[in-house]
Amino acid sequence: MTVYLDNAATSWPKPPGMMESMAEFNGRTGASPGRSGHRLSIEAGRTVEEARALTAELINARDSLRIAFTKNATEALNIVLLGLLKPGDHVITSDLEHNSVMRPLRLLESRGIEVSIAPCSAKGELDPEAVGPLIKKNTRLIVLAHASNVTGGILPVAEIGKLARERDVLFCVDAAQTAGAVPIDVEEMCIDFLAFSGHKSLYGPQGTGGLFVREGLEHELDFIMAGGTGSRSEEELHPDFMPDRFEAGTPNAIGIAGLGAGLRFLRDTGVSIIREKESRLIGALIEGLDEIEGVILYGPPAGAERVPVISCNVKGMGPSEVSQSLDEEFGVMTRPGLHCAPAAHRTIGTLPEGTLRLSPGYFNTMEDIWHALDALESIALTAWRRG
């Protein structure tokens, strides 16, 4: 028996139809979207537009053209952070962020941008009240993960979005862990920029992601890449409009064809149905882990709003060893270490070793959870015997 519990890195398996959609694109369409007027290029363009429209519907963006596709959430975050912030600007983030936010911010810090980090509790909870006092005259942006990829905890983006709007500060949300898994409404949550991953809870292939940009704000972002877009070809100046401004070069149309199939699966199944099943799986996993002697759990308490991600450790054994044993002896695939988010581990007190992360997905079963729990119980017993 093998059990894949690494859906926070990338969802697997993908839904029925995803692979077929990519194969069909490759076999029957195959052309470059937006580059020529022939039938196959038009068909490729339709494929991309359908995925845009489905994404827009999912996040309640009124206009599909506000979505630019990127290769991943990291690229989308870089477009916002490197494109928006100038020396003398101030930016606020949390101490739970992934390196996709932290690394661009540290780079910007070396270029004269001021960075403030709102502290979270040791359980990875962010009090929205802690953010307001950090806002200064030169604060340009608040950038925040919607959910931590380490603790699974959901951060109060709606409250902070409202605060940002009231204080005339732009608000960027990293929805890598939440797009498709948790309802997102860019209007209600006052989100100006939303970076998302296509290959996690949108069920697309790796190499897909994107960025929502609120109307008018594309002009606030200097593009980080210029090139061919198929539009205004006579001009040597890069387009200033969405989505072309952030889509230089031939897009990953075959990946977007797969993403479209993932988005159709999501629309037909419903975010609430998926969330309900994933909540049952993660709930059972946390409850089971809590009962195993020698397992330490991190992150928000059981019952708190979360995505299906949990971090834990086994007393007396490093997370890498536990993960290796889970894989080799029990066929359970997990991720040990820092999960590209050292700041989050500093916050929950798990540096330098990190944690063992288990992240079930919609295609896991309760049997998978029981198998993983049995395996961890056995490993915890071995660790205890070893003393």
């Binding site: 979207p33 937006g34 007027g37 363009g45 539009s231 006579e234 889509e247």
Partner: protein, 76 residues
Amino acid sequence: MIGPHEYMVAIFKSVSHAMKAERILKERCVPFKLIPVPKHISSDCGVCIRFAADARPDVETALIGEVDIALIRPLV
């Protein structure tokens, strides 16, 4: 003066815009055809929407507020 059965074209900023326009016009059952942008109109490598002159009000009603039209003009 253009006759009611002669063709007009709507040109967009990019193919992404044209694709969105196509989706909306299909949803609203407005008759049109997607064609390559004629070279005498623009040097863009994209596509545009061709429609009969008497369908112009339907095209405009469907697209205004949904997608920016760069230009509407007779095909010839």
